[in-house]
Symmetry: C2
Subunit: 586 residues, 2 copies
């Protein structure tokens, strides 16, 4: 019996058992088929063709990236309905919100990473993973071209391509240096610069901080030199930059000062921020709390300050107000600002006619605009929320059932639910105006209830609603929710084809298959060092101080992706409490 006939027999026998069948396919694709491979190349091809025919109903999904969005999609996708292949230059998922802790050794790099293969393994190994980078999306042919980043030794240049029926782009963003000269060469980063270096960069920052101290205590240096080595500059006053500054301050004050007492008075930390305040995306109470805390801690905050260039020994900055240009000597610069586009995404934006956009625009169902079968989520995408004023006539027409040219309260009530789902800005607008009920929108300018409105009245009632539109922040929370949302849509595709669950189409007939993506904000944290943190929690609740740090600990421990990382992170924190941070240059 030849191998191919064995496989054919086995596959027909196993036809009714999808799990066993899939296992067989896997074995075939790996070791099984490899035996055949050495036997006869063409024979194997025929076998896989045969097998493919049996599987023709299963659509192929290719996922690019294993960050928050990609991983969250992979966790829930039903492999009984799809053939899923994942391409990512790193074979692990990193819990990025703890990266600033890694830079100072409060948490180990190992503790925040989880192998992708472990995550997809939960799905019985039926998702294929390739450690490679997607270098080109060929949308016309439904193909992605990939390049293994393990270039040495690899036959065939390490290039391969994958076909897809659906493509999920979740490659994230990279750092944006705004073409500032010298930044790439002389700065450290807390955001992807090169492929797969986020965690490595955090580790490098740690080693470099210790290097600065070791350099500063060498014999025969002038005080000026020592001061330069011990001047740490952070560019960017966002949550990551602020958290790193706070972590660094704690690392130095709690640990390094004790073992380098001879230079303790020479250390300086400066945070350079182009805006007027640090943490300016937070509530201003938090922003000023952070600024005051930093002032007490001796962390200098230079606001309104733009970086013109960075050399290996200094950086030159320009004050926005006066226009003066300074040169600041430094030992280490960490660049923590700006979100840039990955080359593969930039190339794809052009293919789908979104030429000069920084990120991919998708509709509310996360499908890339200008494409039928490509989805984008996380930091590389933004949702282009439909404006209600674009559809105002259709909405009016759909709601005005009796074609009377006026809309009664009852008629409006009929479509309100669909409107609220389709245009989330309506709810935000009601909230901002403290209105209790949607029908309150239809009151006349004096605030009296009206029986009905005509099209002009309807237009003016909703005219300000779109002002509430804002794009979602580039955070882990958004990416994770989008991944989970998209996998749910994929899993219910068949079911929702027949029984749509989305709102009615105002510009067409019937209903949308799915409800559009809706982001649920669970709040955000800004750790400020010294066991203090600030948080904006749902319901506009602001919390600051030591208790908030404990809330931070418990939230971050609970959000860990596996019990292993949870145990490791908690034991890292415990170790830090007992023994402090390690200062070995490793």
């Amino acid at each position: 019996m030849t191998i191919s006939s064995f496989l054919r027999r086995a596959s027909s026998y196993l036809h009714g058992h999808p799990a066993c069948f899939k296992a067989l396919v896997l074995v075939t694709l790996s070791s099984g088929s490899l035996v055949a491979y050495s036997d006869s190349q063409s024979e194997t091809d025929r076998v896989s063709r045969d097998l493919n025919q049996k599987e023709q109903k299963k659509k192929k999904v290719v996922v690019l990236g294993t960050g928050w969005a990609g991983t969250s999609f992979l966790k829930d996708i039903e492999v009984s309905s799809y053939d899923v292949q994942v391409v990512s230059p790193r074979n692990y998922f990193a819990f990025t919100p703890l990266l600033p802790s890694v830079t100072c050794g409060t948490v180990e790099a190992r503790s925040i990473v989880e192998p992708v293969r472990k995550i997809i393994k939960k799905r019985n190994g039926e998702i294929e993973f390739f450690e490679a980078e997607c270098v080109k999306i060929d949308a016309a042919n439904n193909k992605v071209l990939c390049h293994s980043n393990l270039d040495e030794n690899l036959g065939g240049n390490g290039e391969f391509s994958l076909d897809y029926d659906y493509l999920v782009i979740a490659v994230g963003a990279q750092v944006n240096t705004f073409n500032t000269p010298g930044v790439k060469e002389n700065c450290y980063f807390l955001k992807l610069v090169h492929v797969m270096q986020e965690v490595e960069d955090a580790q490098k920052i740690r080693a470099s901080v210790i290097d600065c101290f070791e350099k500063a205590v060498l014999p025969g240096l002038s005080e000026e030199d020592r001061k330069t080595f011990l001047h740490f500059v952070i560019v960017g006053g966002g949550p990551t930059g602020v958290e790193f500054a706070a972590e660094l301050h704690d690392f130095i004050q709690e640990d390094l000062i004790n073992i380098y007492p001879m230079v303790k008075d020479l250390v300086r930390i400066t945070l350079v921020q182009s805006g007027d305040h640090i943490l300016n995306m937070f509530d201003e109470r938090i922003s000023s709390f952070a600024e005051q805390k930093f002032q007490r801690d001796g962390i200098e905050v230079s606001t309104g300050c733009r970086v013109l260039g960075v050399s290996d020994k200094s950086l030159s900055v320009k004050m926005k107000s006066g226009g003066e240009v300074y040169s600041i000597p430094h030992g280490l610069v960490v660049w923590s600002t700006g979100i840039g586009t990955r080359p593969v995404v930039r190339d794809f934006t052009e293919q789908v006619g979104q030429g000069n956009r920084r990120v991919l625009a998708t509709n509310e169902w996360l499908r890339v605009k200008g494409s039928e079968n490509v989805y984008a989520l996380g930091d590389c995408a933004t949702i282009d929320q439909r404006k209600i004023m674009e559809d105002i006539l259709s909405i009016f027409k759909a709601a005005d059932k009796d074609n009377s040219g006026t809309l009664t309260i009852d008629e409006f009530q009929d479509v309100v639910d669909d409107i609220l789902v389709r245009y989330p800005q309506v709810e935000l607008y009601l909230k901002s105006k403290h209105l209790m009920d949607v029908t309150d929108l239809l009151r006349d300018p004096e605030g009296n209830q009206r029986e009905s409105v005509d099209i002009e009245g309807f237009k003016s009632a909703l005219s300000l609603v779109d002002s509430q539109l804002k794009s979602l922040p580039a955070t882990a929370q958004v990416a994770a929710q989008q991944g989970a949302y998209l996998s749910r849509c994929f899993n219910k595709r068949q079911q929702c084809q027949e029984h749509p669950e989305g709102p009615r189409r105002f510009t067409g007939s019937g209903h949308h298959r799915f409800r559009p993506f809706r982001y649920k904000h669970f709040g955000k944290f800004a750790p400020l060092g010294g066991e203090q943190a600030a948080a904006e929690l749902p319901g506009d609740w602001i919390s600051m101080g030591h208790s908030t740090q404990w809330l931070w600990y418990s939230v971050y421990a609970s959000k860990q992706v596996s019990w292993r990382t949870r145990m490791l992170v908690v034991s890292d924190w415990t170790r830090r409490f007992i023994f402090g941070r390690d200062s070995s240059r490793i």
Copy 2:
């Protein structure tokens, strides 16, 4: 009051308080004097000269290296008697016996390192540490020239020199490639190659093993390619190579196979050994136990096999017996054989007239031969034990108190203790001959007790003793004991000058100041994977199997240098038992 006059006043005030005084000196050397530095360079120089005069009684000790020998010396040295400065390219001590565990992630790199500054901090911060490499020992001028390995940004090329009264060389050895072509470029190492990379190399091996698996599962490769990527070759069948092979086997079988099931039948591990057996410095029962275990595990052992060269894809080996030359394709080669000389040591051997030696020869008190004030210990040194036959006439003369030309048993008894201390080979010889008492040596060839012996009889009685001379192995145990021994000698120098504690000088008058170094062997382990280990314990006790692995765990946990690393190592082991090893490529 100028700064210098303040310092002079303060120093005279503090004269009687060495600890306070030393603290002041430290402050002066770092921040204090730096203020003066920017004020006036020459002023500062004068101040330090003044201070130096006050301190002239304290001798300067410079220690090179922070491995087992250096660290163990630093732990115990009395800083009240010496000014100690340490120069090492790495600012941490690494628990090297656990390096093979780091290569597979059984133990984290962080868990086996302890900052040197923490270790010397216990001594009230009175030992200065410089992260730099000693590039040249200038024995004629009692100076060492150092180069900071943090070259970038450093004023004055990062070079500085230190004066010493005593120099302690404990820089260890580096790998020896025996000039085999391609080894440096294409192999990984478990022993220092470049400065300060031991631990980093172990981490790289781990990432590289995972790379091999990621490469092997990429699409579009031939089975041959996949097999090549998954062929792991270890060169060297010593304890380190064997332990690495065992760890790698466990890592693959217990962890990687589960997440890369498609290539599980393609993995191969080969151990290449030039000798006839692996672990040939162990008892042969252990050696054959290890070979049998490896055979059961599927680890191929190629004995009698010399490596001719290594390329990025294959290595060529020659069978010693038949002379055939093979080419073996590989995915990864770990080179774990040979001990080479560090350049700074090679240069110094020439200065002291030990031209073509591989390591520095010292006398039994660890002082380098041909030098008065330089000591060498650990892997860079070997003790040149004095042969008893060289001194046989002097011994006879010293023992023969009545100058009768014959030695009675009583006369011999008088010098026996001194002989046993001065010539440790005597004790080893007695043991090897199963003799109970030293005087048994003087029996006649028929085994009858003699009343006295003449010089010829004495010579022939001791003629075979020197055959028991052997040099100590290059292990952590030896290095650590030497460090502790030397610091004890340094601490008792003054006391032993007046009351020598060593044996009598046979070739001179009086006594040696100190007892010579005596190595105490506590046994050695060879972990063999699968929770099994072999051990040679004191008293020629051989132990093999699972219980020995548990002994290994407890010994290695107890030998940790700090409670922090102890906790970390034990929690790493626990984590591995519960969750397995991590396969993230980081």
